[in-house]
Amino acid sequence: MKKPSRPSTYIFGIALVLLLSAIAFWYFQKPLDVSKATPEMSISAENLLAQLKDTTTQLTVLNAEEVVEIHGVIKEINTLNGRETLILQGGADIKSYIICDMKAGQTETLNQLHEKDSITLKGIYKGFLKDAIFLNCVLTRTHQP
């Protein structure tokens, strides 16, 4: 005669499946898709750098890992370290820049950009050293003359 299953076996089985699913989700989770993310703020490069350099506002203006939309003028486009990087000017009196490490898959668009072009991009803020660092940047608009 077949022995009836104990409820504790079912509970254990369900808990195990849930646990494995959670681990699999956690392990294979994809990073945030910046192109679809709503930015915490939309700001000009000059304004952002002025606030980050000001000791009274630098700690409150932005938190690390926040998505930010920035408008600015291209100072430089480079592929140093095998990464596509876009550097935005900070303004006439500001010797700091916005360094944007671009998300992969934008080579064609980047090839059409030039120094002094005005653009808008979104990226994840990482922090401020001498420049503001953004990763996973995506171009949202170009305003070529």
Binding site: R83, I99, K126, K130, L135
Partner: protein, 181 residues
């Protein structure tokens, strides 16, 4: 002879001005590797800041810890939240001096950079063998050193101890431009 004096003075001034220059790398590359039989972990940071004072050979490096890029999101999460605690210790720094630094040397050469590396709130003195090159007037510094995880008070949970190497290999490459203050 009298005409030569101002020229010599100008040359000497130019040499001095060049020697007091600072140079900056805004997109320095620092990569670390952890090899174990269970898992290999590597991460790269391409926005490391470094400044060298050419007159004194002093060098400073500043690294944003949360700007390291990993293959998997989970590795990045563990690194920032559990091991490095980048919200509490957001930066790692190195301050040191390049021994016998000679700006007149144009051939690639190797020097020892001695200084203090601070990570996770712990400072250690390091001697790092560094290759110095000057290509198209730009200084390029490359090298490798090893960091013992335990030295920096980084606690690895026993369950994950097999996944993280006890000694992490760190590679760096800095390409310097003139410093525009």
């Amino acid at each position: 002879m009298n005409k030569l004096i101002p020229i010599l003075f100008l040359v000497s001034f130019c040499v001095h001005a060049q020697n007091t220059e600072k140079i900056i790398a805004r997109q320095g590359n620092v990569a670390f590797f952890s090899y174990t039989s269970v898992e290999n972990i590597k991460a790269q940071n391409n926005q490391v800041l470094s400044i060298i004072d050419l007159s004194s050979g002093e060098i400073a490096v500043n690294i944003l810890m949360n700007a390291f890029v990993f293959e998997k999101a989970l590795m990045r999460e563990h690194f920032n939240e559990s091991y490095i605690e980048s919200d509490i210790y957001p930066k790692a720094t190195f301050e040191g001096t390049i021994a016998d630094f000679d700006t007149s040397q144009s051939e690639p050469h190797t020097r020892i950079v001695k200084g203090t590396f601070t990570m996770h709130g712990v400072s250690k003195t390091l001697d790092i063998k560094t290759k110095i090159e000057k290509i198209d007037g730009k200084y390029i510094l490359t090298g490798t050193f090893e960091a013992v995880v335990k030295d920096y008070d980084i606690k690895i949970p026993p369950l994950l101890a097999g996944n993280i190497a006890k000694t992490i290999s760190v590679d760096f490459r800095f390409e310097y431009d003139p410093y525009d203050s």
